[in-house]
Amino acid sequence: MDKMVNVALPKGRLGEKVYKLFKEAGFECPSIEEQNRKLIFENPEKGVRYFWVKPSDVAIYVERGAADIGVCGKDILLEYRPDVYELLDLKMGKCRMAVAAKKEFRDPRGETLRVATKFPNIAATYYNEKCRDIDIIKLNGSIEIAPILGLSDVIVDIVETGKTLLENDLVPFETIVPISARLIANTAGYKFKQEAIEAIKKGLEKQIND
């Protein structure tokens, strides 16, 4: 049986930051820093094997056991609710899930609220708790345009600096939940590689707290 810990990292800027954290925690893998087209990188000495996947796919790789651990945003965990352990808040890639609308927006209490979002589950849960009747419009991108064109009253989306919103004359009204990158683990994989996974978690934790 493979005793290496398989780590799914999210492609992109956040992923590179995350790898740096793994490296500083003592789980480096020199081949990952070489310029090449390889997809899988391993360091048998440290017992780790890294691979890059699309950020929104990390949870799928981990839930289905192709990766033992991985790093993905809290937004993905809240939206898709994969059956995985969420072991650590890496406190990077910080942003928030928020409700935004045009500056002059006032909640039309007497009407169904039209909500455009890439995150229908998060939006539905949030408004359910408030007993607010909503109509969810699931979009796949350029969410900001929805209220401008009158497609929706509000949007539920990730807000980092708020710059994109501002440029489109939108304002974040309420924060639903803060978001950051999380270390997740496959539940079954954790049972058989607990020591190695805990060692990685401890290493990362130390780096974050320092």
């Binding site: 049986m1 898709y80 352990y85 072991l87 079954a188 049972k191």
Partner: protein, 361 residues
């Protein structure tokens, strides 16, 4: 040619359960839909295939076995009914919109449960795993103990649910944040974090928990759980409180079994007295299911060939002699007789059968 791992497992499990006096429970494929609607939350997925039969009753294709078994047992003071099953159930596969037929084996022990019955079921769960794969773990939790510890923490009702799900996800960071949000004492926080972080060897985990317990309820559940763990000391069990997250139906031990190489739990069970209470019954009940469809994963280490011998027969070969030859060859392994080599199958050895008899390919 080997028998597939999932097929082997079914035979082995059936034998095991019979050895311990469990009788087989065979049921119809259909059940009144009403039974599932009333106990929706007990089901893994609440989507059920329904249809109307010719008399106008709304029926369902079984999404679950346990509810049917409970429905068909009666309360008898001092008596226990032990049954096992091997059935196909119909559920929506997670993350999809389509129904899947899932093969499931398992057992239920219903009636006047005492420590022995509970220990026996746990031991059978552990033995079931051992029959399927060498490297396995059985993770145990106790919903009574978890519930008592949550109650002792002065959490709000909503907070309790959240705490349970954070323990289930092993998210110590979220749990800490919740404790701050709910204004819990340091001691309460320590208690919740212990439930989240402690996992592994039973003795060690119990020793770590004990000093944190105060209320009578906590101590009573702890005693019950410790006694069970002591009985099972010989089995490969571990304690892990992330196992159960349902306080509505489960009251005592809950457990999940894992086999190395399979990315999800293959066995899941618990003591669900509260479900019976909800159904107006006095009995207690404990049971578990083994998800045999997941064992297909173990078949992946496939043999390099499908059958041992391919015997190519010539058109005019004598059939009677061929039958005799096949019987002889079967002593060496499986034999496929064909006129031409099949395209998609592989064999260890190819032989020919001509008018003159058996020849090397």
């Amino acid at each position: 040619m080997v028998i597939r791992k999932d097929e082997q497992a079914i035979f082995a499990l059936r034998n095991l359960y019979r050895q311990y006096g469990y009788s087989q429970y065979k049921m119809s494929r259909f059940e009144e839909y009403d039974l599932y609607v009333r106990n929706k939350d007990f089901l893994i997925s609440d989507e059920v295939i329904t249809f109307t039969d010719r008399s106008g009753r709304l029926l369902a294709l079984k999404p679950d076995v346990t509810l049917s078994i409970i429905k068909n047992t009666v309360d008898r003071v001092g008596a226990v009914q032990k049954v096992y099953y091997n059935e196909n159930v119909f559920r929506v596969a997670k993350g999809t919109h389509s129904f899947k037929e899932i093969m499931q084996a398992g057992l239920e022990c219903i009636g006047d449960l005492q420590e022995y019955e509970i220990a026996e079921v746990l031991m059978l769960a552990s033995k079931s795993l051992a029959l399927i794969g060498e490297n396995y773990v059985l993770d145990l939790s106790h919903m009574g103990l978890v519930a008592a510890m949550l109650s002792a923490c002065a959490l709000s009702e909503e907070g309790k649910g959240k705490a349970l799900s954070f323990i289930h996800q092993k998210s110590a960071h979220e749990l800490s944040a919740l404790c701050v949000q709910e204004g819990l004492s340091q001691k309460a926080e320590q208690k919740l974090l212990a439930l989240c972080r402690q996992s592994g060897d039973a003795r060690q985990v119990l020793d770590a928990l004990k000093p944190l317990l105060e209320t009578e309820e906590e101590l009573a559940a702890f005693e019950e759980f410790s006694a069970l763990c002591a009985i099972l000391a010989e089995e490969k069990i571990r304690l892990d409180f992330s196992v159960g997250n349902d306080m509505k139906y489960y009251s005592g031990v809950v457990f999940k079994g894992y086999i190395e190489g399979i990315p999800a739990s293959v066995l899941s069970g618990g003591q669900y007295d509260k479900l019976l209470q909800k159904m107006g019954r006095k009995s207690g009940a404990i049971g578990f299911a083994v998800y045999l469809d997941l064992l297909e994963r173990l078949n992946r280490e496939k043999a390099d060939y499908d059958f041992d011998i391919l015997l190519l027969r010539e058109e005019d070969a004598d059939s009677a002699a061929l039958i005799q030859a096949v019987e002889q060859l079967q002593k060496e392994g499986s034999v496929l007789v064909a006129k031409a080599p099949p395209e998609d199958l592989r064999f260890c050895k190819v032989l020919k059968f001509t008018k003159g008899g058996l020849q090397n390919g």
